[in-house]
Amino acid sequence: MVLANIITVKNLRFGYPKNEVLKGIDLTLHDNELVCLLGVNGAGKSTLLKCILGILKHQSGTISYGNVAQAINVGDGNTSSESISSEDLDPMQMARYMSYVPQSVKSSFSIDVYDTIMLGRRPYIGWSISELDREIVSKTIEFLNLEDFAFRKFNQLSGGERQRVIIGKAIAQSPRVFVLDEPTSDLDLKNQIQVMKKLKILVSDENSPKGALVAIHDINMAARFADRILLMSDGEIIAVGAPRDVLTPENIQKVFRVTSDVIESQEDNRFWIHVKDEIDGELDDKHVIWEHQNNENEG
């Protein structure tokens, strides 16, 4: 079976004056695939996601969205086999194709959780909410177990609850591509696993093809749920492939500056990364300086 490319990025560059953030990125995303983007703070993960979403305008390179016309019913049939770039799409079409979970949301006034998730239906709604929109939102709330606070105000929720609501909005948007920027950063352990599992369920559904691009810090989550991993460092992708091939102690040391072991699980075919220690040892020195200053103050 040949899987369609739903996102193709070629030689993408983005930068601010004096600071090049993305230095020629190539990546592809297929249907039924969950791709995790790993890398240290400032590696350019969020910037890459924002370029793909059209929030930031890249300076060179191309981003194309395969089979968009088919997916969102805008084509006349002839264009469906060609890939389409961001210039060809209006914001509403982009929003039907891709949904986004940002790292944080800046909420100034808040509405009910139900209505917040309903915003995922905005690209489809003229003005009034249809029965289908309501049904999709209600199902999404049940799917993510958000029933308990469905009619509470969004800003009265805890950080983790808010994050799940925003993920709910992204799911209700029924996109072809999920673009998630650290969707589990505020979640407790159980919810982290639950959210990743549910995302995996959505992406694996062969009747409604979808893909997900997820920036994440937890390498063990990535190892467990990703179909492929992109390892990013300093604006470049330095390794791509199946989790086992990419998450080697050598690669992890190169990117994250920590030593680690790969541990094979006995009961199933899984593995995890045991992170041991940082290798530069900067912290010890700083600790000493800090103590020294304290002594001076006392004296």
């Binding site: 914001p91 891709m98 949301v105 100034s108 808040s110 009910d112 915003l119 905005r122 003005w127 209600s138």
Partner: protein
């Protein structure tokens, strides 16, 4: 149907009921206000019958109701709806609860225009409309500055507010200078303009101002989804649901500023409605703009009618300007509402 969907529909229906109730209350208040005044005081029932043609008024009653009171009541409603809608729109698209239609400096511009007409005798049009014409022209200059600002690359919500504050300071300073060199009579004339009164508006003006308001409110309702997305999640979140925040913000601000300019050029400074009415509406229907906009508009009309009627009757035949009345009675009421809603 899914129980969650049912609950959502039920909640929505209850909110719509509150809005309708608010609308009816405001309408009754308008009828009552039509009967109030120093002469020919009529009870609300008689007024209703006269207005809807079930009872023929005497010629004095007819001319008092239709020539004197009707323009005033209409202007209270139109002005209240316009300023409150503009306030709700601006708070939403700038993501800031402190914003009011006066934040962008439109009012200070208008006041400077009025000062130039009164003190320097310079005006775009002569005659009785000199002050109004000038106020509107200067307010338009402010709108033009906003358009220019909106066209620059990646302007944020904060920059609009900061530029508005800068405009307010500059226009205020020039007005102060003019005031300093003016005669006592000129100073009192400017003071009088700035009070904010509905008495200066005749029937044709009130009807003329109704037209843009009738267009704006449905347009604002159409923007509800975008406003919800922007105010719940900020710019990036809004983009991901299909909004273009920069373009949207510019259009919304320009239209709100224009509408504000139109109203306050004729009435003088009325600031409180645009700030308070959206917040009062929030207490009742929450922040979903599909309900917030109509309820803000009705609250705006209600506040204006209430303050003006009280201003006309409290110390009759002396009329206290609506702008003053609004701040005096509206301020404490507003604080009460805010404290009460925070307590829940």
């Amino acid at each position: 149907m899914n129980p969650l969907s049912e609950q959502h529909i039920l909640k929505s229906r209850n909110q719509i009921k509150s809005i309708v109730l608010l609308g009816i209350t405001t309408f009754v208040l308008a009828l009552f206000a039509m009967g109030q005044g120093p002469y020919e005081k009529l009870d609300i029932w008689t007024t209703a019958k006269m207005i809807f043609g079930f009872e023929t008024p005497t010629s004095t009653e007819h001319s008092i109701i239709w020539r004197i009171r009707f323009p005033r009541i209409l202007m209270a409603i139109v002005g209240g709806v316009a300023l409150a809608t503009a306030g709700a729109l601006m708070q939403g698209c700038l993501g800031n609860p402190l914003v009011s239609p006066l934040t962008l400096g439109v009012a200070s511009g208008a006041a400077l225009g009025a000062a130039v007409a009164i003190m320097l005798g310079l005006s775009v049009i002569g005659g009785p409309l000199a002050i109004i014409g000038n106020a509107f022209l200067f307010a338009l200059i402010v709108v033009f500055i906003i358009i220019q600002l909106g066209s620059t690359h990646s302007v944020s919500a904060e920059s609009y507010i900061l530029v508005g504050i800068a405009i307010t300071f500059i226009a205020g300073a020039i007005t102060s200078v003019l005031n300093y060199f003016a005669t006592d009579e000129q100073v009192s004339q400017l003071m009088h303009w700035s009070f904010g009164s509905l008495g200066r508006v005749d029937r044709d003006t009130a009807l003329f101002l109704t037209i843009p308001v009738v267009f704006l409110v449905p347009l604002a309702l159409k923007w509800s989804w975008d406003l919800n997305a922007l105010s719940v999640g900020g710019d990036e979140f809004a983009i991901s649901t299909g909004v273009n925040p920069a373009g949207f913000r510019k259009i919304v601000l320009v239209l709100s500023a224009l509408l504000t300019a139109l109203v306050i050029s004729f009435t003088g400074l009325i600031g409180f409605v645009g700030l308070a009415a959206p917040h009062m509406a929030r207490v009742i229907v929450g922040n979903d703009f599909r309900k917030l906009i109509p309820s803000s508009a009705i609250f705006g009309a209600f506040l204006m009618l209430f303050a003006d009627t009280l201003g006309r009757t409290l110390f009759a035949p002396i009329i206290i300007p609506v702008g003053v009345m609004l701040s005096v009675i509206g301020g404490p009421f507003f604080m009460y509402l805010l404290i009460r809603s925070k307590g829940r």
